[in-house]
């Protein structure tokens, strides 16, 4: 007779039972890691392990039938944050779609079926942050990072000095860093 998710979750939440934690880990780590790997690639081990560590450290309250969706929600958010960090460094990387289907994992989110797809959410966060930039800074940033023009080409196109391009790029980056980190 196997212990159900609810029994394990209850023992973890109410007694901080390490064995229950370990059993939950064995049960869900492979799946969560695979989910994370879709988005964060090589960081998947770290991100997935951090999720379990945070479950242990900030033991969530028990709620019937919610363990699975709780774990996936934590993983979803951990991936999102990891990607936001990366987006500041490499804006283009967010344009790539992860391979395969995210829908399958969504079935494990069942109670949160309305949750948006992770990449959509990320793109949404980023485009909101970019939209907040002043017009000229925004244009400069997109020409550089989206269209991959050189600073000299941007300067020529916008009829400004290269110094001004540099200034706008660094302004954009510092804004994004503030919004996304």
């Amino acid at each position: 007779m196997i212990e159900t998710d609810d029994i394990l979750f209850q023992r973890l939440a109410e007694e901080k039972d390490r064995e229950a934690f370990n059993a939950i880990f064995r049960r869900y780590y492979p799946r969560l890691r695979a989910y994370c790997a879709k988005f964060v690639g090589d960081d998947a081990d770290d991100v997935a392990q951090d999720c379990f560590l945070s479950v242990w450290n900030n033991t969530p309250g028990y709620s019937e039938g919610k363990l699975k969706s709780l774990l996936f929600t934590i993983a979803h958010n951990a991936c999102l944050n990891n990607l936001k960090h990366k987006a500041v460094i490499d804006f283009k990387s967010t344009d790539e779609n992860p391979e395969g289907s995210e829908f399958l994992y969504k079935d494990d989110f069942a109670p949160n079926a309305d949750e948006p797809m992770l990449m959509d959410e990320l793109r949404d966060h980023i485009s909101k942050a970019i939209d907040e930039l002043p017009e000229r800074t925004r244009k400069t940033f997109l020409l550089s990072r989206r269209d991959e023009l050189s600073y000299a080409e941007i300067a020529e196109r916008l009829n400004v000095s290269i110094k001004a391009v540099e200034k706008n790029i660094s302004k954009a980056l510092s804004h994004l860093r503030q919004k996304l980190l």
């Binding site: 196997i2 390490r18 370990n22 880990f25 064995r26 049960r27 780590y29 492979p30 799946r31 969560l32 890691r33 695979a34 081990d45 997935a48 392990q49 379990f52 560590l53 242990w56 450290n57 391979e99 395969g100 289907s101 829908f103 399958l104 079935d107």
Partner: protein
């Protein structure tokens, strides 16, 4: 039916291919007999996690162990600080031009100093601090090693911290940390509160809170970055907290904190992030760092020797 069961198992094991993900998702949409649930229970009942999962669980359990120490730690750390303070010594020296009071710490020692103007300085292990004996005309100290400064505000008399590497930090009233050990590749100044100016022979940099200036000893260039100022002062509580520190450099810091000798670690340049907040023993810390950086070591009466 058999096929779907296999695919489901590969999903639970985290080894499913992207193509099978699509197939399995399709299947679940019409899974009226709730086969997924049945298979999931079957998979759990088999109860043989891969060695991959087993290793990941070990790693997480080790990290939990490290974290859970720290509940007992704070009190113990305070007692140790008082003990090591007994070993501190203060001596006076004189130069023709200026009189200094010299403070010096040995390995494993942290010293708390209050200056005439009520500024507080905490000196880390194996560090020297010379303080101008007459602070009324000029507030001026020389540092070799690492110290945390909490400087009383006095706009008429700026406070200057000078390091060997020809760097000068000038402040009015602030809290900041300066690290300038001989083996460090950079002199690092980290600001928590207020404002400081860092002067080198070539440049001047202004720091705002949570920024840090890094003076490269190799080419004397100075750069500014964001920094976790609380991390920079963690050593005051006896904690060992570093982000992205080269293993070789970290081992030097351990030698200093524990008064041990560690040989053969200089060339390990892998970067680690560590957080020991629980008064862990030297042996515990070495074991964890060795497993993180992937080296082996042995301990004898002379100290630690690292075999890469």
């Amino acid at each position: 039916m058999k096929d779907f069961r296999n695919i489901a198992f590969s999903y639970f094991s985290g080894t499913i291919t992207p193509e099978d993900e699509v197939i399995l998702h399709e299947f679940i949409q019409h899974d009226q007999k709730h086969m997924m649930q049945v298979w999931e229970e079957e998979w759990i009942e088999m109860g043989c996690p891969s060695s991959y999962t087993g290793n990941a669980l070990k790693r997480v359990n080790r990290r939990i162990q490290i974290n859970s120490f720290w509940r007992y730690a704070t009190a113990a750390a305070a007692v140790i600080l008082v003990c090591v303070a007994v070993f501190s010594y203060v001596y006076r020296t004189s130069s023709p031009e200026e009189q200094f009071i010299c403070y010096s710490t040995s390995a494993g020692e942290v010293m708390r100093i209050t200056l005439q103007d009520n500024s507080r300085i905490i000196l880390n292990a194996e560090s020297d601090l010379k303080v101008a004996s007459d602070m009324s005309s000029r507030r001026y100290v020389k540092l070799n090693g690492e110290a945390w400064f909490e400087i009383q505000a006095d706009t008429d008399h700026p406070f200057e911290v000078v390091t060997e590497e020809k760097q000068k930090v000038v402040v009015t009233g602030t809290k900041f940390n300066v690290t300038a050990y001989p083996e460090d590749k950079n002199v690092i100044t980290t600001l928590l509160e207020g404002k400081v100016s860092v002067f080198t022979q070539k440049d001047t940099i202004q720091l705002m809170p949570y920024e840090q200036a890094s003076l490269s000893i190799a080419d004397k260039s100075i750069s500014k970055s964001e920094a976790n100022a609380l991390e920079a002062r963690s050593w005051i509580n006896g904690d060992i907290v570093y982000s992205n520190i080269e293993t070789g450099n970290l081992l030097h810091k351990l030698e200093r904190k524990f008064g041990k000798t560690i040989q053969g670690g200089d060339s390990i340049d892998e970067e680690l992030s560590v957080s020991f907040r629980n008064n862990e023993s030297f042996d515990q810390i070495m074991e964890i760092i060795a497993s993180l950086a992937g080296f082996e070591y042995s301990i004898d009466e002379k100290g630690v020797t690292i075999h890469e």
